[in-house]
Symmetry: C2
Subunit: 270 residues, 2 copies
Protein backbone atom coordinates (compact mmCIF):
# COMPACT_ATOMS: atom_id res chain seq x y z
CA UNK A 1 0.00 0.00 0.00
CA UNK A 2 1.24 3.50 -0.87
CA UNK A 3 0.66 6.80 0.91
CA UNK A 4 1.39 10.32 -0.31
CA UNK A 5 3.50 12.71 1.78
CA UNK A 6 3.84 16.37 0.72
CA UNK A 7 5.12 15.79 -2.79
CA UNK A 8 5.80 12.09 -3.17
CA UNK A 9 4.27 8.65 -3.06
CA UNK A 10 5.93 6.30 -0.62
CA UNK A 11 5.19 2.95 1.01
CA UNK A 12 2.56 3.52 3.73
CA UNK A 13 4.84 2.08 6.43
CA UNK A 14 7.45 4.76 5.63
CA UNK A 15 5.21 7.79 6.14
CA UNK A 16 6.61 9.53 9.22
CA UNK A 17 6.45 13.06 10.56
CA UNK A 18 9.07 14.65 12.75
CA UNK A 19 7.94 15.05 16.37
CA UNK A 20 8.19 18.85 16.05
CA UNK A 21 5.04 18.83 13.92
CA UNK A 22 2.25 20.88 15.52
CA UNK A 23 -0.06 17.85 15.27
CA UNK A 24 2.20 16.04 17.76
CA UNK A 25 3.07 19.13 19.80
CA UNK A 26 -0.36 20.80 19.92
CA UNK A 27 -2.92 18.53 18.23
CA UNK A 28 -3.16 21.15 15.47
CA UNK A 29 -4.30 20.14 12.00
CA UNK A 30 -7.29 19.40 9.78
CA UNK A 31 -8.33 16.48 7.63
CA UNK A 32 -11.02 15.08 5.42
CA UNK A 33 -12.12 11.58 4.58
CA UNK A 34 -14.04 10.17 1.62
CA UNK A 35 -14.62 6.84 -0.07
CA UNK A 36 -13.95 5.42 -3.49
CA UNK A 37 -16.51 2.92 -4.75
CA UNK A 38 -15.66 1.02 -7.92
CA UNK A 39 -12.82 3.48 -8.42
CA UNK A 40 -15.16 6.49 -8.38
CA UNK A 41 -15.41 9.03 -5.56
CA UNK A 42 -19.00 10.14 -4.93
CA UNK A 43 -19.35 13.85 -4.05
CA UNK A 44 -15.61 14.51 -4.38
CA UNK A 45 -16.18 18.24 -4.98
CA UNK A 46 -18.06 18.50 -1.66
CA UNK A 47 -15.20 16.86 0.25
CA UNK A 48 -12.63 19.04 -1.48
CA UNK A 49 -14.67 22.17 -0.73
CA UNK A 50 -14.72 21.27 2.93
CA UNK A 51 -11.02 20.36 3.03
CA UNK A 52 -9.90 23.67 1.53
CA UNK A 53 -12.40 25.57 3.72
CA UNK A 54 -11.13 23.88 6.93
CA UNK A 55 -7.53 24.53 5.86
CA UNK A 56 -8.18 28.22 5.23
CA UNK A 57 -10.03 28.70 8.50
CA UNK A 58 -7.20 27.04 10.41
CA UNK A 59 -4.56 29.20 8.68
CA UNK A 60 -3.00 26.20 6.91
CA UNK A 61 -2.07 26.78 3.26
CA UNK A 62 -2.48 23.73 1.00
CA UNK A 63 0.58 23.30 -1.23
CA UNK A 64 -1.42 21.62 -4.02
CA UNK A 65 -4.18 23.12 -6.16
CA UNK A 66 -7.52 21.31 -6.31
CA UNK A 67 -6.60 19.89 -9.69
CA UNK A 68 -3.22 18.66 -8.46
CA UNK A 69 -4.75 17.19 -5.31
CA UNK A 70 -7.41 15.39 -7.33
CA UNK A 71 -4.75 13.90 -9.58
CA UNK A 72 -2.76 12.71 -6.55
CA UNK A 73 -5.84 11.04 -5.05
CA UNK A 74 -6.69 9.15 -8.25
CA UNK A 75 -3.05 8.22 -8.80
CA UNK A 76 -2.91 6.84 -5.26
CA UNK A 77 -6.02 4.70 -5.89
CA UNK A 78 -4.47 3.45 -9.11
CA UNK A 79 -1.10 2.67 -7.54
CA UNK A 80 -2.80 0.75 -4.74
CA UNK A 81 -5.06 -1.10 -7.18
CA UNK A 82 -8.06 -1.17 -4.85
CA UNK A 83 -11.38 -0.01 -6.30
CA UNK A 84 -13.18 0.35 -2.94
CA UNK A 85 -11.30 2.31 -0.32
CA UNK A 86 -11.37 5.08 2.25
CA UNK A 87 -9.03 8.00 1.55
CA UNK A 88 -7.87 10.28 4.35
CA UNK A 89 -6.14 13.61 3.73
CA UNK A 90 -4.48 15.16 6.81
CA UNK A 91 -2.94 18.64 6.82
CA UNK A 92 -0.89 19.35 9.93
CA UNK A 93 0.43 22.55 11.53
CA UNK A 94 3.93 21.69 10.26
CA UNK A 95 7.38 21.64 11.81
CA UNK A 96 7.19 24.48 14.27
CA UNK A 97 10.53 25.80 15.59
CA UNK A 98 8.95 26.93 18.88
CA UNK A 99 6.32 24.16 19.07
CA UNK A 100 3.47 26.70 19.04
CA UNK A 101 3.48 28.89 15.92
CA UNK A 102 1.96 27.50 12.73
CA UNK A 103 4.65 26.50 10.21
CA UNK A 104 4.54 25.00 6.68
CA UNK A 105 1.86 22.29 6.79
CA UNK A 106 2.59 18.65 6.07
CA UNK A 107 0.10 16.96 3.73
CA UNK A 108 -0.44 13.25 4.36
CA UNK A 109 -2.78 11.15 2.19
CA UNK A 110 -3.42 7.56 3.22
CA UNK A 111 -5.63 4.82 1.82
CA UNK A 112 -7.63 2.46 4.03
CA UNK A 113 -9.83 -0.59 3.74
CA UNK A 114 -13.48 0.38 3.50
CA UNK A 115 -15.74 -1.25 6.07
CA UNK A 116 -19.45 -0.64 5.62
CA UNK A 117 -22.07 -1.40 8.30
CA UNK A 118 -23.06 -5.07 8.46
CA UNK A 119 -26.50 -6.11 7.21
CA UNK A 120 -27.33 -7.28 10.74
CA UNK A 121 -26.71 -3.76 12.00
CA UNK A 122 -29.04 -2.32 9.38
CA UNK A 123 -31.74 -4.88 10.13
CA UNK A 124 -31.59 -4.69 13.91
CA UNK A 125 -30.42 -1.13 14.53
CA UNK A 126 -27.89 -0.09 17.17
CA UNK A 127 -27.73 1.33 20.69
CA UNK A 128 -26.08 4.67 21.42
CA UNK A 129 -25.17 6.49 24.62
CA UNK A 130 -25.18 10.25 25.31
CA UNK A 131 -22.59 12.64 26.73
CA UNK A 132 -22.81 16.29 27.74
CA UNK A 133 -20.33 18.08 25.50
CA UNK A 134 -19.96 20.39 22.52
CA UNK A 135 -16.87 20.49 20.30
CA UNK A 136 -14.88 23.70 20.34
CA UNK A 137 -14.89 24.28 16.57
CA UNK A 138 -17.58 21.95 15.24
CA UNK A 139 -17.74 23.50 11.76
CA UNK A 140 -14.08 22.79 11.06
CA UNK A 141 -12.85 19.27 10.39
CA UNK A 142 -9.97 19.67 12.83
CA UNK A 143 -8.01 16.62 14.02
CA UNK A 144 -9.03 17.31 17.64
CA UNK A 145 -11.04 14.28 18.78
CA UNK A 146 -9.77 14.27 22.36
CA UNK A 147 -13.18 13.75 23.93
CA UNK A 148 -14.44 11.35 21.24
CA UNK A 149 -11.44 9.03 21.54
CA UNK A 150 -11.53 9.29 25.33
CA UNK A 151 -15.23 8.26 25.36
CA UNK A 152 -14.62 5.01 23.45
CA UNK A 153 -14.15 3.26 26.78
CA UNK A 154 -17.68 4.30 27.82
CA UNK A 155 -19.12 3.33 24.44
CA UNK A 156 -17.65 -0.16 24.77
CA UNK A 157 -18.60 -0.54 28.43
CA UNK A 158 -22.23 0.20 27.49
CA UNK A 159 -22.03 -2.21 24.57
CA UNK A 160 -23.05 0.74 22.38
CA UNK A 161 -22.20 1.75 18.83
CA UNK A 162 -21.53 5.46 19.33
CA UNK A 163 -22.01 8.46 21.64
CA UNK A 164 -24.24 11.47 21.01
CA UNK A 165 -23.19 14.92 22.27
CA UNK A 166 -25.75 17.23 23.88
CA UNK A 167 -25.60 20.49 25.82
CA UNK A 168 -28.33 22.50 27.58
CA UNK A 169 -30.95 20.02 26.38
CA UNK A 170 -30.01 20.31 22.69
CA UNK A 171 -28.32 17.49 20.82
CA UNK A 172 -25.67 18.21 18.20
CA UNK A 173 -23.68 15.33 16.71
CA UNK A 174 -21.64 12.18 17.25
CA UNK A 175 -17.83 12.46 17.27
CA UNK A 176 -17.74 11.27 13.63
CA UNK A 177 -21.40 11.12 12.51
CA UNK A 178 -24.47 13.33 12.15
CA UNK A 179 -27.84 12.69 13.75
CA UNK A 180 -31.31 12.53 12.16
CA UNK A 181 -34.62 12.14 13.92
CA UNK A 182 -38.18 11.49 12.76
CA UNK A 183 -39.81 13.64 15.40
CA UNK A 184 -43.21 13.42 17.11
CA UNK A 185 -44.72 15.49 14.25
CA UNK A 186 -43.40 13.05 11.65
CA UNK A 187 -40.81 15.57 10.39
CA UNK A 188 -37.31 14.39 9.47
CA UNK A 189 -34.91 16.76 11.23
CA UNK A 190 -31.18 17.13 11.92
CA UNK A 191 -29.44 19.62 14.26
CA UNK A 192 -28.75 22.88 12.41
CA UNK A 193 -25.85 24.30 14.41
CA UNK A 194 -22.84 23.22 16.50
CA UNK A 195 -22.23 20.32 14.11
CA UNK A 196 -19.74 19.34 11.47
CA UNK A 197 -21.67 19.60 8.24
CA UNK A 198 -21.27 16.06 6.96
CA UNK A 199 -21.40 15.44 3.23
CA UNK A 200 -23.85 12.56 3.76
CA UNK A 201 -25.97 14.92 5.91
CA UNK A 202 -25.85 17.52 3.13
CA UNK A 203 -26.99 14.95 0.57
CA UNK A 204 -29.86 13.79 2.75
CA UNK A 205 -30.96 17.40 3.33
CA UNK A 206 -31.25 17.84 -0.43
CA UNK A 207 -32.93 14.53 -1.35
CA UNK A 208 -35.69 15.23 -3.84
CA UNK A 209 -39.21 14.20 -2.92
CA UNK A 210 -38.44 14.24 0.81
CA UNK A 211 -38.74 17.03 3.29
CA UNK A 212 -35.75 17.05 5.63
CA UNK A 213 -34.98 20.10 7.76
CA UNK A 214 -32.00 21.40 9.72
CA UNK A 215 -33.34 22.88 12.95
CA UNK A 216 -33.02 22.71 16.74
CA UNK A 217 -33.29 19.13 18.01
CA UNK A 218 -33.65 18.47 21.73
CA UNK A 219 -32.78 15.38 23.71
CA UNK A 220 -36.54 15.03 24.32
CA UNK A 221 -37.13 15.04 20.53
CA UNK A 222 -34.69 12.14 20.29
CA UNK A 223 -36.31 10.12 23.07
CA UNK A 224 -39.83 10.68 21.69
CA UNK A 225 -38.85 10.06 18.05
CA UNK A 226 -40.41 7.30 15.98
CA UNK A 227 -37.06 6.81 14.23
CA UNK A 228 -33.49 7.93 14.92
CA UNK A 229 -30.45 7.33 12.72
CA UNK A 230 -26.87 8.42 12.26
CA UNK A 231 -25.07 9.21 9.02
CA UNK A 232 -21.48 9.30 7.81
CA UNK A 233 -19.42 8.75 4.70
CA UNK A 234 -18.55 5.15 5.45
CA UNK A 235 -21.62 4.25 7.53
CA UNK A 236 -24.08 5.97 5.19
CA UNK A 237 -27.22 5.52 7.34
CA UNK A 238 -27.43 3.39 10.50
CA UNK A 239 -30.73 3.03 12.41
CA UNK A 240 -30.65 3.68 16.17
CA UNK A 241 -33.13 1.73 18.29
CA UNK A 242 -31.87 2.51 21.79
CA UNK A 243 -30.57 5.74 23.41
CA UNK A 244 -29.01 5.02 26.81
CA UNK A 245 -31.75 2.97 28.48
CA UNK A 246 -34.64 4.24 26.35
CA UNK A 247 -36.02 2.24 23.45
CA UNK A 248 -36.84 4.30 20.33
CA UNK A 249 -40.26 3.72 18.73
CA UNK A 250 -41.02 0.02 18.64
CA UNK A 251 -37.35 -0.90 19.01
CA UNK A 252 -36.93 -1.72 15.33
CA UNK A 253 -35.63 0.27 12.35
CA UNK A 254 -38.52 2.07 10.63
CA UNK A 255 -39.52 2.85 7.05
CA UNK A 256 -37.98 6.35 6.80
CA UNK A 257 -34.41 5.24 7.46
CA UNK A 258 -34.84 2.49 4.87
CA UNK A 259 -36.14 4.90 2.25
CA UNK A 260 -33.37 7.45 2.91
CA UNK A 261 -30.68 4.80 2.64
CA UNK A 262 -31.96 3.61 -0.71
CA UNK A 263 -32.27 7.20 -2.06
CA UNK A 264 -28.75 7.93 -0.84
CA UNK A 265 -27.27 4.88 -2.55
CA UNK A 266 -28.98 5.94 -5.80
CA UNK A 267 -27.47 9.40 -5.46
CA UNK A 268 -24.01 7.94 -4.81
CA UNK A 269 -24.25 5.88 -7.99
CA UNK A 270 -25.73 8.67 -10.12
CA UNK B 1 21.14 17.72 20.57
CA UNK B 2 19.63 14.39 21.61
CA UNK B 3 16.01 13.39 22.14
CA UNK B 4 14.60 10.26 23.73
CA UNK B 5 12.04 8.12 21.90
CA UNK B 6 10.33 5.21 23.74
CA UNK B 7 13.45 3.35 24.80
CA UNK B 8 16.43 5.05 23.19
CA UNK B 9 18.33 8.29 22.86
CA UNK B 10 18.68 9.51 19.29
CA UNK B 11 19.70 12.72 17.52
CA UNK B 12 16.79 15.20 17.83
CA UNK B 13 16.48 15.55 14.06
CA UNK B 14 15.84 11.80 13.78
CA UNK B 15 12.85 11.64 16.13
CA UNK B 16 9.90 10.78 13.92
CA UNK B 17 6.50 9.21 14.55
CA UNK B 18 4.55 7.24 11.99
CA UNK B 19 1.53 9.14 10.67
CA UNK B 20 -0.81 6.48 12.12
CA UNK B 21 -0.10 7.86 15.61
CA UNK B 22 -3.28 9.11 17.30
CA UNK B 23 -1.57 12.48 17.89
CA UNK B 24 -1.49 13.00 14.11
CA UNK B 25 -4.80 11.26 13.41
CA UNK B 26 -6.87 12.62 16.31
CA UNK B 27 -4.78 15.14 18.26
CA UNK B 28 -4.73 12.65 21.14
CA UNK B 29 -1.94 12.78 23.69
CA UNK B 30 -0.65 14.43 26.84
CA UNK B 31 2.59 16.15 27.78
CA UNK B 32 4.41 18.02 30.46
CA UNK B 33 7.13 20.62 30.43
CA UNK B 34 9.65 21.71 33.02
CA UNK B 35 12.95 23.50 33.23
CA UNK B 36 16.43 22.64 34.35
CA UNK B 37 18.41 25.46 35.95
CA UNK B 38 22.10 24.86 36.60
CA UNK B 39 21.41 21.19 35.90
CA UNK B 40 18.76 20.97 38.63
CA UNK B 41 15.03 20.63 38.02
CA UNK B 42 12.97 22.64 40.50
CA UNK B 43 9.73 20.93 41.59
CA UNK B 44 10.42 17.80 39.50
CA UNK B 45 8.11 15.68 41.67
CA UNK B 46 5.21 18.05 40.99
CA UNK B 47 5.71 17.83 37.23
CA UNK B 48 6.03 14.05 37.37
CA UNK B 49 2.87 13.80 39.50
CA UNK B 50 0.96 15.79 36.90
CA UNK B 51 2.42 13.84 33.95
CA UNK B 52 1.44 10.45 35.37
CA UNK B 53 -1.96 11.82 36.45
CA UNK B 54 -2.71 13.20 32.95
CA UNK B 55 -1.56 9.93 31.39
CA UNK B 56 -3.81 7.86 33.61
CA UNK B 57 -6.83 10.07 33.02
CA UNK B 58 -6.32 9.86 29.26
CA UNK B 59 -5.96 6.05 29.38
CA UNK B 60 -2.31 6.16 28.28
CA UNK B 61 0.02 3.79 30.13
CA UNK B 62 3.57 5.10 30.67
CA UNK B 63 6.14 2.43 29.80
CA UNK B 64 8.70 3.79 32.27
CA UNK B 65 8.48 3.94 36.05
CA UNK B 66 9.00 7.30 37.75
CA UNK B 67 12.52 6.27 38.67
CA UNK B 68 13.35 5.17 35.12
CA UNK B 69 11.84 8.34 33.67
CA UNK B 70 13.81 10.51 36.07
CA UNK B 71 17.01 8.75 35.08
CA UNK B 72 16.24 9.27 31.39
CA UNK B 73 15.62 12.99 31.92
CA UNK B 74 18.90 13.52 33.79
CA UNK B 75 20.79 11.40 31.27
CA UNK B 76 19.34 13.51 28.45
CA UNK B 77 20.49 16.71 30.16
CA UNK B 78 23.93 15.21 30.64
CA UNK B 79 24.21 13.97 27.04
CA UNK B 80 23.19 17.38 25.74
CA UNK B 81 25.59 19.15 28.10
CA UNK B 82 23.33 22.16 28.66
CA UNK B 83 22.72 23.18 32.29
CA UNK B 84 19.74 25.48 31.56
CA UNK B 85 17.03 23.94 29.39
CA UNK B 86 13.35 23.24 28.88
CA UNK B 87 12.40 19.55 28.85
CA UNK B 88 9.20 18.41 27.16
CA UNK B 89 7.75 14.92 27.63
CA UNK B 90 4.99 13.99 25.16
CA UNK B 91 2.97 10.79 25.43
CA UNK B 92 0.83 10.11 22.34
CA UNK B 93 -2.12 7.81 21.67
CA UNK B 94 0.18 5.47 19.72
CA UNK B 95 -0.01 3.72 16.37
CA UNK B 96 -3.71 3.02 16.05
CA UNK B 97 -4.71 0.41 13.44
CA UNK B 98 -8.11 2.06 12.89
CA UNK B 99 -6.99 5.64 13.54
CA UNK B 100 -9.39 6.01 16.48
CA UNK B 101 -8.75 3.47 19.25
CA UNK B 102 -5.98 4.15 21.74
CA UNK B 103 -2.91 1.98 21.10
CA UNK B 104 0.50 1.64 22.79
CA UNK B 105 1.64 5.21 23.53
CA UNK B 106 4.81 6.68 22.10
CA UNK B 107 6.96 8.57 24.61
CA UNK B 108 8.95 11.48 23.21
CA UNK B 109 11.31 13.55 25.35
CA UNK B 110 12.91 16.62 23.80
CA UNK B 111 15.21 19.29 25.14
CA UNK B 112 14.83 22.96 24.24
CA UNK B 113 16.61 26.25 24.76
CA UNK B 114 15.22 28.07 27.77
CA UNK B 115 14.05 31.60 27.09
CA UNK B 116 13.04 33.60 30.14
CA UNK B 117 11.10 36.90 29.99
CA UNK B 118 13.26 39.92 29.16
CA UNK B 119 14.01 42.45 31.91
CA UNK B 120 12.19 45.09 29.81
CA UNK B 121 9.04 42.95 29.97
CA UNK B 122 9.31 42.66 33.73
CA UNK B 123 9.91 46.41 34.14
CA UNK B 124 7.21 47.63 31.76
CA UNK B 125 4.61 44.82 31.90
CA UNK B 126 2.71 43.45 28.92
CA UNK B 127 -0.63 43.80 27.18
CA UNK B 128 -3.04 40.88 26.86
CA UNK B 129 -6.27 40.34 24.94
CA UNK B 130 -9.32 38.27 25.96
CA UNK B 131 -11.32 35.54 24.19
CA UNK B 132 -14.57 33.81 25.10
CA UNK B 133 -13.66 30.15 25.49
CA UNK B 134 -13.13 27.35 27.98
CA UNK B 135 -10.91 24.33 27.27
CA UNK B 136 -12.65 20.95 27.10
CA UNK B 137 -10.47 19.18 29.67
CA UNK B 138 -8.62 21.99 31.44
CA UNK B 139 -7.35 19.82 34.32
CA UNK B 140 -5.49 17.46 31.98
CA UNK B 141 -2.32 18.55 30.22
CA UNK B 142 -3.56 17.25 26.88
CA UNK B 143 -1.82 18.25 23.65
CA UNK B 144 -5.01 19.88 22.36
CA UNK B 145 -4.18 23.57 21.86
CA UNK B 146 -6.32 24.07 18.75
CA UNK B 147 -7.88 27.34 19.93
CA UNK B 148 -4.69 28.66 21.54
CA UNK B 149 -2.58 28.15 18.43
CA UNK B 150 -5.38 29.49 16.23
CA UNK B 151 -5.58 32.69 18.34
CA UNK B 152 -1.90 33.54 17.90
CA UNK B 153 -2.87 35.58 14.83
CA UNK B 154 -5.16 37.76 17.01
CA UNK B 155 -2.52 38.06 19.72
CA UNK B 156 0.01 39.34 17.19
CA UNK B 157 -2.47 41.60 15.42
CA UNK B 158 -3.21 43.29 18.76
CA UNK B 159 0.50 43.54 19.53
CA UNK B 160 -0.28 41.59 22.70
CA UNK B 161 1.67 39.04 24.71
CA UNK B 162 -1.04 36.47 25.34
CA UNK B 163 -4.80 35.81 25.39
CA UNK B 164 -6.98 35.23 28.47
CA UNK B 165 -9.96 32.87 28.26
CA UNK B 166 -13.27 33.79 29.88
CA UNK B 167 -16.82 32.41 29.80
CA UNK B 168 -20.05 33.71 31.33
CA UNK B 169 -18.16 36.58 32.94
CA UNK B 170 -15.61 34.36 34.70
CA UNK B 171 -11.99 34.24 33.64
CA UNK B 172 -10.03 30.98 33.72
CA UNK B 173 -6.54 30.84 32.21
CA UNK B 174 -4.27 31.59 29.28
CA UNK B 175 -3.55 28.80 26.77
CA UNK B 176 -0.21 28.10 28.51
CA UNK B 177 -0.24 30.28 31.65
CA UNK B 178 -2.25 30.88 34.81
CA UNK B 179 -3.71 34.21 35.89
CA UNK B 180 -3.36 36.09 39.19
CA UNK B 181 -5.10 39.28 40.20
CA UNK B 182 -4.70 41.68 43.11
CA UNK B 183 -8.41 42.50 43.41
CA UNK B 184 -10.23 45.60 44.58
CA UNK B 185 -10.06 44.29 48.20
CA UNK B 186 -6.29 43.89 47.97
CA UNK B 187 -6.53 40.08 47.93
CA UNK B 188 -4.24 38.07 45.67
CA UNK B 189 -6.50 35.58 43.83
CA UNK B 190 -6.32 33.06 41.00
CA UNK B 191 -9.22 31.21 39.29
CA UNK B 192 -10.01 28.02 41.22
CA UNK B 193 -11.66 25.90 38.50
CA UNK B 194 -11.62 25.30 34.73
CA UNK B 195 -7.84 25.77 34.72
CA UNK B 196 -4.77 23.65 34.30
CA UNK B 197 -3.20 23.60 37.72
CA UNK B 198 0.21 25.02 36.89
CA UNK B 199 3.15 24.09 39.07
CA UNK B 200 4.17 27.76 39.32
CA UNK B 201 0.57 28.58 40.33
CA UNK B 202 0.72 25.84 42.97
CA UNK B 203 3.96 27.24 44.37
CA UNK B 204 2.58 30.75 44.54
CA UNK B 205 -0.56 29.51 46.31
CA UNK B 206 1.64 28.01 49.00
CA UNK B 207 4.14 30.86 49.47
CA UNK B 208 4.70 31.36 53.16
CA UNK B 209 3.93 34.77 54.59
CA UNK B 210 1.53 35.65 51.77
CA UNK B 211 -2.18 35.06 51.50
CA UNK B 212 -3.05 33.89 48.02
CA UNK B 213 -6.44 32.27 47.29
CA UNK B 214 -7.94 30.16 44.55
CA UNK B 215 -11.51 31.39 44.01
CA UNK B 216 -13.92 32.71 41.38
CA UNK B 217 -12.38 35.58 39.40
CA UNK B 218 -14.56 37.66 37.08
CA UNK B 219 -13.58 39.71 34.09
CA UNK B 220 -14.66 42.74 36.14
CA UNK B 221 -12.23 41.71 38.90
CA UNK B 222 -9.47 41.74 36.30
CA UNK B 223 -10.37 45.15 34.91
CA UNK B 224 -10.67 46.71 38.39
CA UNK B 225 -7.51 45.05 39.74
CA UNK B 226 -4.59 47.03 41.05
CA UNK B 227 -2.23 44.36 39.69
CA UNK B 228 -2.61 41.49 37.23
CA UNK B 229 0.03 38.94 36.28
CA UNK B 230 0.47 35.62 34.54
CA UNK B 231 2.57 32.68 35.63
CA UNK B 232 4.20 29.68 33.96
CA UNK B 233 7.22 27.43 34.25
CA UNK B 234 9.40 29.36 31.81
CA UNK B 235 7.84 32.80 32.30
CA UNK B 236 7.66 32.53 36.08
CA UNK B 237 5.73 35.79 36.73
CA UNK B 238 4.99 38.45 34.10
CA UNK B 239 3.12 41.66 35.04
CA UNK B 240 0.13 42.65 32.90
CA UNK B 241 -0.57 46.35 32.54
CA UNK B 242 -3.22 46.34 29.78
CA UNK B 243 -6.22 44.04 29.11
CA UNK B 244 -7.67 44.70 25.65
CA UNK B 245 -8.07 48.49 25.70
CA UNK B 246 -8.19 48.89 29.49
CA UNK B 247 -5.17 50.00 31.48
CA UNK B 248 -4.64 48.09 34.76
CA UNK B 249 -3.96 50.19 37.89
CA UNK B 250 -1.54 52.98 37.04
CA UNK B 251 -0.28 51.16 33.95
CA UNK B 252 2.90 49.98 35.64
CA UNK B 253 3.91 46.74 37.39
CA UNK B 254 3.14 46.95 41.10
CA UNK B 255 4.80 45.80 44.31
CA UNK B 256 2.95 42.48 44.75
CA UNK B 257 4.12 40.95 41.46
CA UNK B 258 7.68 41.99 42.32
CA UNK B 259 7.50 40.39 45.74
CA UNK B 260 5.98 37.17 44.44
CA UNK B 261 8.62 36.84 41.75
CA UNK B 262 11.42 37.19 44.26
CA UNK B 263 9.80 34.68 46.68
CA UNK B 264 9.32 32.25 43.79
CA UNK B 265 12.95 32.49 42.70
CA UNK B 266 14.02 31.79 46.29
CA UNK B 267 11.77 28.73 46.35
CA UNK B 268 13.18 27.48 43.03
CA UNK B 269 16.70 27.72 44.37
CA UNK B 270 15.87 26.22 47.77
Amino acid sequence: MYSFFNNQFLPAEKAFVHVSDLAVQRGYGIFDFFKAVNGKIPFLEDYFNRFYRSAEFMQLPVSLSREELKNVVYELLQKNGVADAGIKMVLTGGYSPDGYEIATPNLIITQHALTMPSSKMLEQGVKIITHEFRREMPLVKSINYTTGVWLQRNVKAANAYDVLYHLNGEVSEFPRCNLFVVNANGEVVTPAIHVLEGITRKNILSLSGMEVKATTVTLTDVLQASEVFLTSTTKRVVPIVQVDDAVIGNGKPGPVVQRILSELVKKENA
